[in-house]
Amino acid sequence: MKLNALNNFFFIAFPYMALIVFLIGTIYRYKTTGFKFSSLSSQFLESRGLFWGVIPFHFGLIVVFLGHLLAFCFPKGQLLWNSLPIRLIILEVTAFTFGINIFIGLAALIVRRFTNPRIRAVTNIMDTVIEFLLLAQVILGCWIALGYRWGSSWFAADMSPYLWSIIKLNPKVEAMSAMPWIIKLHVIGAFLIILLIPFTRLIHFLVAPIPYIWRPYQQVMWYWNRKKIRFADAQWVHHKPRNN
């Protein structure tokens, strides 16, 4: 009974809490404090050490995150892919390599943060919290990948339905509560990170500059539509500034 209540809290109540805080928090922060919306890069203070941390970290994270996302969105496809052992093994080895990359990068970043006095000067509490949280999450992830094979298959089979049940507002925790505690911890960690996103520098991934790809290089902004208001007798109906 008690275990049930715990399960219900961590895998129903807590995920919803995390998602709601994430949604409201990020939108609020985006709308009201654009000035604080930044990746807070510290490359300007220390560049070489950053390279060895930030590159493996980000590329590892992108691949691993996309992997989770794909398995979550297309569980059937995932299982189909895994039906051939060789494909399964290629996938798992790749994912694991990138997971290790995250670990190495993050470790380098943490060492840099605490050994370089300049970087310490621009470190705040949330930076530290989120970095150690991510570190724990990555260690758990790699551990799971090694100890509970084959993750890509059981994620698609058991985790995806659970996550979808959360999205569909009809949470089914049976599969989840049967999971080993280490996987449970990984899931709780994931929701904790989602919850903390609006309070940390992690928000910067939400404003990844994708529109840059199709934007024209030069940007000119007009404060008002100069042609429309040039002549005083013309009726003036345009309120929106025009950009080009």
Binding site: F44, L50, R226
Partner: protein, 517 residues
């Protein structure tokens, strides 16, 4: 044609005394904050010298600006592909040590120190970490060629000069230098705007000022790399990039920017120039030799009736056209052909023009026997007591330019992408105006001679008079012709609520909710 107005600047280098008043005026208003201590939106450097940040002109290091690839141009170290691939770590970004680590002193130690045998000292501490540091570099530590081996001899512009020419430049008797004040050029083809992945940087349509929206900047840092003049700075505390805003709040209120207002040497001019924006792309991509000429071609004559008509139909206010007609910068850059853009080969089409310095090249210096000197000297020449002849004679008209102690090649590398002719034309004009004034005031130059010189340089007496006036006697309103910003229209646009009077009443911009059927 797509006529637009650009607020442009001219710096008359001969008159800069290197006092840094401009830098201080700017710093006191805009950058005296944490994270911005190291920024000098306006800085003055000694040339030859390495500048700020160190060797900023060397794009092999910093990869700033545009480069020509075939018929097109692309950003050298940024852009869509390079920018997004390098977004996590930008390999070409300068770090704070390329500028200098900001510092202060522990002044309190001087007061609170217990009595002891030695005098107490105020140790320097870093403004970043608060810890004691050994200061390696500070603002303008290269001033007046100080530490020449470290600074002057590492000037990237010396690359094109032979070893002998370089040696000659630093020969003690020949040594000359001048100051180069720099602010953001508010370019027509700004590399900073093009490089910003967030789209936070933009050029204002009405006056061409380039600004960074602090709410949209996300610290991707690409503008710092892309600006070849290194005039976009990363604020390490706020995590936002910042740059010179040409004091737009002052400009909108009709004042000159603070650096210009405070300039002791009165070297600075500000005014509107009308230009044809449809040409920007093609001009930025022409061959290096044509860059200067084509850029000047794009600037339009504000008195031409066709230009005026086109400008009006493109929405440019009459007051702005009027300002363009009085613009001192148009005169310097186009009408008189005296000014040149700084490093046009970076292809950002900068809108800050420099009148190249005549004084460092004016005199020639030769070794001459004392006895010979007396015989061959022109009356105007001065000579030292030793065997060096510092010759400012004007007998052979342009002789001194060719054997100038300061190689024209060096100036050309700064102001005309290496084309010495462009610099020479301008220096001749400066010299001609001096001779013209000499005829007028001193009288040791005849009128024929003065006319001959003016003609040779491509000036008329009226032009010479205009140049003389604007470079010597000009008052505030002559030097800074700030166009009206027409805030009243902008305010009206924001506030106009008359159309809601009959529904929600004055003061509302939003309509009422839709009700009923």
């Amino acid at each position: 044609m797509d006529i637009r107005a650009q607020t442009s600047m001219v710096f008359y280098l001969d008159k800069c005394i290197g006092c840094h008043t401009c830098s201080i005026a700017c710093k006191n208003i805009w950058t005296d904050r944490k994270g911005a201590e190291y920024m000098w939106w306006n800085n003055v450097e000694t040339k030859p010298g390495t500048g700020y940040p160190t060797k900023w002109e060397d794009q092999e290091i910093y990869k700033g600006g545009w480069e020509k690839k075939g018929e097109r141009i692309q950003l050298k170290g940024a852009g869509k592909r390079k920018g997004l691939v390098n977004i996590f770590h930008n390999p070409n970004m300068p770090v704070i040590d390329d500028y200098y680590e900001p510092f202060t002193y522990r002044y309190l130690d001087l007061i609170e120190s217990p009595s002891m045998d030695d005098q107490p000292t105020a140790r320097p501490v870093s403004l970043i970490t608060g810890k004691p540091i050994d200061i390696k570099m500070g603002p303008n530590w290269d001033d007046d060629l100080s530490g020449t081996p470290d600074f002057a001899r590492n000037d990237p512009n010396l690359k094109g000069l032979s070893a002998a020419e370089q040696e000659a430049m630093f020969h003690l008797e020949k040594m000359a230098f001048y100051y180069l004040p720099r602010i953001c050029n508010h370019c027509l083809n700004p590399a900073c705007v093009a490089a910003c992945p967030s789209g936070a940087i933009y050029k204002r349509g009405e006056d061409g000022i380039v600004l960074i929206n602090q709410d949209v900047c996300r610290a991707w840092r690409m503008c710092v790399t892309a600006c070849p003049y290194k005039k976009s700075y990363y604020n390490w505390h706020t995590g936002k990039s910042e740059k010179c805003i040409l004091c737009y709040p002052r400009i909108e209120a009709g004042f000159a920017p603070a650096c210009m207002h405070s300039c002791v040497g009165r070297i600075r001019y500000l005014g509107v120039i009308l230009y044809d924006a449809s040409q920007i792309k093609s001009i930025a991509s022409v061959d290096e030799k044509e860059l200067v000429d084509r850029q000047l071609q794009m600037l339009l004559d504000p008195f031409d009736s066709q230009v005026i008509k086109e400008a009006q139909s493109n929405g440019i206010a009459d007051s702005t056209i009027k300002a363009a007609q009085n613009s001192p910068t148009y005169k310097f850059a186009k009408a008189w052909g005296l000014a040149l853009p700084l490093h046009p080969e970076f292809r950002t089409v900068p809108m800050l023009f420099y009148v190249p310095p005549l004084l460092p090249v004016m005199a020639s210096l030769k070794e001459a026997k004392q006895t010979q000197q007396g015989q061959k000297l022109h009356d105007a020449a001065k000579f030292w007591d030793d065997n060096w002849l510092y010759d400012t004679s004007t007998k052979e008209l342009w002789g001194t330019l060719d054997e100038a102690r300061f190689p024209l090649k060096y100036l050309a590398s700064l102001f005309s992408a290496g084309d010495e002719e462009q610099v020479k034309v301008r220096l001749k004009k400066l010299m001609a105006v001096r001779m013209y004034r000499r005829w007028k005031t001193v009288g040791d130059v005849t009128e024929e001679k003065s006319n001959e010189v003016l003609k040779d340089a491509g000036l008329t007496q009226a032009m010479a008079e205009g140049i003389y006036y604007l470079t010597t006697l000009a008052k505030f309103d002559d030097r800074f012709v700030v166009p009206a910003s027409h805030r009243e229209q902008a305010l009206e646009m924001l506030e106009f609520t008359g159309d809601k009077k009959g529904a929600t009443g004055f003061g509302f911009k939003e309509a009422t909710a839709q009700r009923g059927l």
